[in-house]
Structures are given as C-alpha cells and as structure tokens.
Symmetry: C2
Subunit: 202 residues, 2 copies
DNA sequence: ATTGTCCACCTAACGCCATTAGGAAAACAA
DNA sequence: TTGTTTTCCTAATGGCGTTAGGTGGACAAT
C-alpha cells in the first residue's frame, strides 16, 4: 500500500507545478515566489521543501515537463508526414511555434534564460536534444531523397533552421507575452521556414 | 554654478548605471539588486532613490541608453553604404548582432523580457522604433531601385527581417550568455540575412 | 557674514522573500 | 502496540525593495 502514498505524492507535485505555472503567468517567470505557490496550494512555504529541494529544482521540473511536451508536439506534427520530410519539417516548425505561443510561460523557460542562477539539469535538457535529433533526421532524409541540397545537412544549416524558428518564437514571446492574444507573430512560422527551405532547395 | 552640480549628478548616475551593468553580468539581469549596486558605489540602498525613483526606473534608464547605442551602431554600419541599400541591410544586421553579442546584458533587456514587472517607457522605447524606421527606409529604397521585389516592403516582410535577426541574437544570448565567447552563433547573422535577401531578390 | 533653501546622504523600519532547524501529528509497517 | 517514515507545522535568519524622517553641507539671497 506504499502505492497509495506515491500516487498522492505525485498528485501534490502536479498541483504545485500547476500553481507555479499560474503564478508565473501572473507575476512573470522569475517573479514567481514559493510563498505564493504555497498559499495557492494551501501550505506554508517550508512544506514545499518536502517536494522540491529548492526553487531552482521546481524550475527544473517545469523545464523537463515543458521540454518533453514540446518534443512530443513536434514529433506528432512531424509524424503526420512519414514519407514527406519537407512537409514534416514545415509541420514540426509550426507545431513548435504554436506550442510556444500556447504555453508562453514555460516556453520562456525553454527559449530564454529568464531566471538568474537557474540552468536546466542534463536530465531536464534531454528532450530538447532529442527534438534536435529528430529535426536532423528529417533533414538527412530529405537530402537523401534529393528533396534538399546536400549542404542542408551541415551543422550550419541545422543551426540556421533552429535559429529561424527561434526568431519567430522570440518575437512572439517578447511582443505577446500573455499568449492568449492573436498570435500575430506566430503566423510567421510558415513564411520563416520557407526562407530556409527555398535556400536549401535542390 | 548650478552647472557644477548637474555635472556631478550626471557623473554619479553614470557610475550607478555602470555598477548595475556589472552586477547584471554577474548575477543575471533580473538578479541585480539595489543593495549590491549601492555597495559597489559606496552608498546605502535608500540613497539610490535620490537618482532613480525605483528599481524599474533604473532598468528604464539602462534600456534607453542601450537602445540608443544599438540604434547608433546599426545606423553607422548602414551609413557606410549610402547608395547600396542591400549592403546597408547586411551591414546593419551584422552590426545589430555584433552589438548584442558584445553587450549581452543590456541586449537581453532589449530583446527579451527578463525582468518581471518592467516594461520600457515610450521614451526609452523610441530609439528602437527609430531603428525599425531606418530598416524600413533601406528596404523601400532597395525596392525603388529594383534591387528587391516589391513584396519586400510589405509589413510581413519587414517583420520577417526583424524576426530572422532576432533569432540569431536569441540563440547567441541563450547559448553564450557571457558574451565574451567566440560568438559562434553571431556568425549566423550573414547567412540568416541571406535567406531573407534571396527570397525577396527581384 | 548670516540666513534660509535644497540636495545628498544617512538610520530605522516594514513587509516580503528563500531557506534552515526542529518539532508534532498522522500514515503506515512490524 | 510499537516503531518508522512522511508530511505538515512554527520559529528564525539574512536578504530584498521601499518609505519615513533626520542631519549635514552646498548653494543663493540678504
């Protein structure tokens, strides 16, 4: 019956993380306070230390969850086009931007460095690396099918792809940080990726 | 002899802003504390309120200085090519990225939203608007000379240009926040702008 | 030279924060 | 029933941004 305890504990952790995200939306990513989180979940601040050894550990848990969610969103979108890597790249980039616009708080945590002193642990960073690996696979596949120039598979080309997409996300987050808005900047995802695709077209 | 006082006051303000930048480099943009600034300039924290009515006002002053410096750097670079707007765009974008890589702390203040609760005042934001106006002028000139497609002067195209450049800066700041580094990501400025220029080539 | 005004600093204090120490009660295992 | 572990608590420390109120010196006017 140790199971019962673990279930309860995981539920509390989820509750804490949810409250943290809500408060980050209200007070800014770096403006979130453990005291406010504790108030929202009906605890005293020190009790949170039963679940996270520090505030940065809480950020780390949020980072890992967010990175995994983002990776999954991109993977699902790309997976819709299993034998059309160009379309997979387009869909993946659009999904990346859409997810970031829809989850602006945690997207800031991933795309920027908003919290002084916090750096994601290797474990939390892993989903992001897996996402880049996925991107690389699509590009390599496209090149092998002659749908992209060979130079598209170079390190610089991959970096350029992520940079272009990061630019769209950055504009979106900086200019519509609330996220709920129109997503004016997120609409640039398609055209931005087109710039890259045209340059590396065979 | 009121002049003497104003000179002295402005010198102190400069000293405070310099200390703030140094501490932001050490502790993060949002991690800078007025107490630490006061210590560094040899004052007690409340004395800083003779010069800035709040911490956010200090951020605002830094923002304005930085935005003006960035605008000037871009303007100088672009001005090197008065009758070659394409080269002016290239040089301006490179200067933008180089300045941001060389001043990573204040660049974060301009490109991101690192400080919860701080938004630049209209006055502090003005240099940034002037910089975008300059960019627009170059593009319009290039279009009128048939060096760019007419669609390059649309709102979307201008937004795409800023987005591509913002992407390079964002990658640079996120991955080499210390700035002093090799500027690996800043080297993408040229290729990134090329993507845009190729797409809008006549 | 004296007076009055203003500026630039100070100390003291308030309420908030993250974090640690140590204790109490409840949940579970024996 | 006893003992252990988990989960919460109160109390306290040292830091923060900011306000209130006081003091001395720099300046202007007499």
């Amino acid at each position: 019956m140790q199971d019962r305890r673990k279930v309860r504990r995981d539920a509390v952790i989820g509750e804490i993380l949810g409250a943290a995200v809500e408060l980050m939306a209200r007070d800014g990513v770096a403006g979130m306070s453990l005291s406010a989180v504790a108030r929202r979940v009906g605890m005293r601040p020190p009790s949170l230390y039963e679940y996270f050894p520090s505030k940065n550990a809480l950020y780390d848990a949020l980072f890992e969850r967010a990175a995994a969610g983002l990776r999954d969103a991109v993977a699902v979108a790309g997976g819709q086009h299993p034998d059309h890597p160009i379309e997979a790249l387009r869909a993946g980039a659009r999904a990346f931007v859409a997810w970031s616009a829809g989850n602006p708080v945690v997207a800031q945590l991933i795309s920027w460095r908003p919290v002084p002193g916090f750096e994601p642990s290797p474990q939390a960073f892993r989903p992001s690396q897996e996402m880049v690996a996925l991107l690389r696979d699509h590009i390599v596949l496209a090149v092998s099918r002659k749908e992209l120039r060979a130079s598209a598979a170079t390190e610089e080309a991959v970096l350029l792809f992520t940079t272009v997409v990061a630019g769209v996300v950055s504009q979106q987050l900086a200019n519509e940080p609330a996220g709920g808005g129109s997503g004016r900047y997120a609409r640039l995802a398609g055209p931005a990726v087109s710039l890259w695709l045209e340059h590396y077209a065979p």
